[in-house]
């Protein structure tokens, strides 16, 4: 029988040459007359080791990584297909400490299966959640989601079950399930990984949501920067339709659920749920006033569940293993697990799914291995471009929604971007305002105008940073106060999180790294 060789098809793996590695392995096998079965699996999420090649052995899958085309001939020479000794042989994948220490629930299948194989999905507990859901009432499904303690993983952390309950309670015929796949936060890629590496889990989660609240149509609003995810999702949807998991009378039940992927068009603001809905309706992605809540008047004015990819992809395991199973993970009011993404200047970047409660320090050093450059990590930004910058003194904060809000920070979508000691935090504060100005939808004044004024004021602070005369000192202090006042206006006067949270990176940079703003020797 042909030996199975796995080479990931995840975008990050491709970005490091996985396609070339796959081709080289195939060519070398052909040259040597060895029969192999090459499977393009998802990525395990150890991105510093991509292309991460695995070989199926009777003891389990053995990892060889990172494998570049130039390594392939020597791997065959070392009989890697039979777990031969080689510098790149890392042993059994399951035994790698980096993976073993994780608690993969949402990402249970990611990296293991062939993403577009429905058979593989079914063989790895796929569609068990939906099977259970089809034997429950809508209210029972919603109760299960509520009891699991799942909160919106997009960043707002609103209880998913409560949102669903509102939609369930609306007595209208047409309702929608919308998946927010406009993952625009820098330092985040867990949505992309789910969509590229285990698309059926998202499809199943959305189907369960549809069955629960009585919606027969779902849309995945996918950012245009993810062309690979688009292909994989469409392929998976077609297979689910062909097998009766989508469409009329799904799995022989009375439920209908159809699913369509819609491409976004490069506007960060469309990750905000109301501007996302505007965009889906074919309009400019401008934020709506709330109320009405999307759960009551959402897409095309109908009750709509809008959930993040990770929230929806977590539904199947909750319905499969039960609400309590999921709720048993975590701490405080943060139940379950969070897929954390290590990014930026980090040695071992990748996907770490853990129960809430691990500290930043564990992630940055135990998993991350410190900075990529080997210099001290000076700052980390958690939760995307609207998240606070944290100094080393806050690295012992546990990853928990409430613990983060106590230190005026956010967990957001679980992205952690590390910076070494070469970072200029005044420039990062400037960038935060600049990004807000570029991406503002323009509807409310604090965000539209405030962001541009913010860039100007930070520029004046930077320009006057080292002024020593009294006049300079006074001017500098005035500009610093101006940033604080402006931030106050943006926090309290913006319609949505873009304007309302841009002050998080700005003020945290100023408060924790004052020396970069010339605040030290005043």
């Amino acid at each position: 029988m042909a030996i199975k060789v796995y080479v990931p098809r995840d975008s990050s793996a491709l970005s490091l040459g996985a396609d070339r590695t796959a081709k080289a392995i195939q060519a070398e096998a052909a040259k040597r007359g060895i029969e192999i079965e090459l499977i393009r699996n998802g990525s395990r999420g150890l991105f510093w080791l991509e292309p991460f090649v695995e070989v199926a052995t009777d003891k389990g899958r053995v990892a060889f990584a990172p494998v570049q085309p130039k390594d392939v001939a020597s791997l065959f020479d070392a009989d890697f297909l039979n777990n031969g000794a080689h510098a790149l042989n890392l042993g059994l994948t399951e035994e790698l400490a980096w993976l073993k220490k994780q608690q993969r629930l949402t990402f249970a299948r990611v990296g293991i299966t062939d993403p577009v194989s429905l058979e593989d999905y079914l063989a790895h507990d796929g569609y068990k959640g939906l099977k259970n859901a089809l034997n429950m009432t809508g209210a029972e499904i919603v109760k299960s989601v509520t009891d699991s303690g799942l909160r919106g993983r997009g960043g707002a952390a609103f209880p998913t079950g409560i949102k669903w309950n509102t939609v369930l309670g609306c007595q209208v015929e047409q309702k929608y399930i919308v998946c927010n796949a406009d993952e625009g936060d820098s330092g985040t890629y867990s949505d992309r990984m789910i969509m590229e590496n285990d698309p059926f889990v998202l499809i199943e989660g959305m189907t369960i949501a549809g069955v629960a609240v009585g919606a027969n149509m779902g849309y995945i609003y996918l950012r245009s920067e993810y062309p690979h995810a688009l292909k994989v999702l469409n392929e998976a949807i077609a297979k689910a339709e062909a097998a009766g998991y989508l469409g009329d009378k799904i799995c022989g039940s009375s439920h209908t659920f159809n699913l369509e992927v819609r491409r976004a068009a490069g506007a960060y603001i469309c990750g905000e749920e109301t501007s996302l809905l505007e965009s889906l309706e074919g309009k400019r992605g401008q934020v709506r006033f709330k109320p009405p809540l999307p759960a009551i008047e959402g897409l095309f004015g109908k009750p709509t569940v809008v959930n993040n990819v990770i929230s929806l992809a977590t539904i199947p395991i909750i319905l499969d293993k039960g609400a309590q199973y999921y709720a048993d993970y975590g701490m405080g009011r943060s139940r379950g697990t969070l897929p954390i993404q290590l990014a930026g200047n980090i040695k071992h970047g990748g996907l770490v799914e853990l129960a809430f409660g691990a500290t930043l320090r564990e992630l940055l050093y135990d998993f991350g291995g410190g900075s990529f450059t080997g210099k001290p990590i000076r700052a980390v930004q958690v939760g995307g471009p609207l998240g606070a910058f944290l100094p080393e003194s806050q690295f012992d904060t546990p990853l928990d929604y409430e613990e983060f809000s106590k230190i005026w920070a956010v967990l957001g979508h679980g992205g952690i971007v590390a910076f070494d000691d070469t970072v200029d935090m005044a420039k990062m504060a400037r960038y935060a305002f600049e990004f807000c100005a570029i991406e503002s939808c323009g509807k409310c004044t604090p965000c539209r105008i405030g962001s541009t004024r913010g860039v100007e004021v930070i520029d004046r602070i930077i320009a006057n940073k080292n002024a020593l005369d009294t006049n300079g000192v006074k001017e500098h202090a005035k500009q610093v106060q101006l940033v604080r006042d402006l931030s106050d206006t943006m926090i309290n006067g913006s319609l949505c999180a873009l304007g309302g949270m841009t002050p998080y990176p700005v003020l945290s940079a100023m408060n924790h790294f004052g020396e970069d703003f010339g605040l030290e020797n005043r």
Binding site: S12, G344, G350, L351
Partner: protein, 161 residues
Amino acid sequence: MFVTSALSPQELTRIDVHIATHKAMPGALLPLLHAIQDDFGWVSEECYLPISKALALSVAEVHGVVTFYHHFHTHPVGKHILQVCRAESCQAMGSQKLEKDIKTALGIDYHETTKDGAVTLLPVYCLGNCACSPAVMLDDEVYGRMTAEKVADIVAEARAV
């Protein structure tokens, strides 16, 4: 509106076909604009009037939508699109220097196209490749752990095809 058309009759027909294919979709405008851009590489103002008629919108509304989204190009672009990530994760890995080097090597700034029409350079805010920063995207392919030299190689390879 237009004294002379820059698009050929065949091209105008292609636009009409896209409109006919998409106009019955709920929220048709974005999928339609994507289809037009996928076909032509950009969205000409000449599309606005027929789109507005088909979707019962004003020309201003169509213009408003096209120009709201960074993804839609209102002018012709090069044969290839090179997007360089400017977001925080890539900044932490030296993307600011990379941006500068790429601009120098190509001899253009953002939103410009090389003289030979081969490459249009665009900024992008996150490609979701943040564990392998800095990242760039050439057409539909993402590249990680980039250096100016590696980008030059990728561009040269694309130019050669």
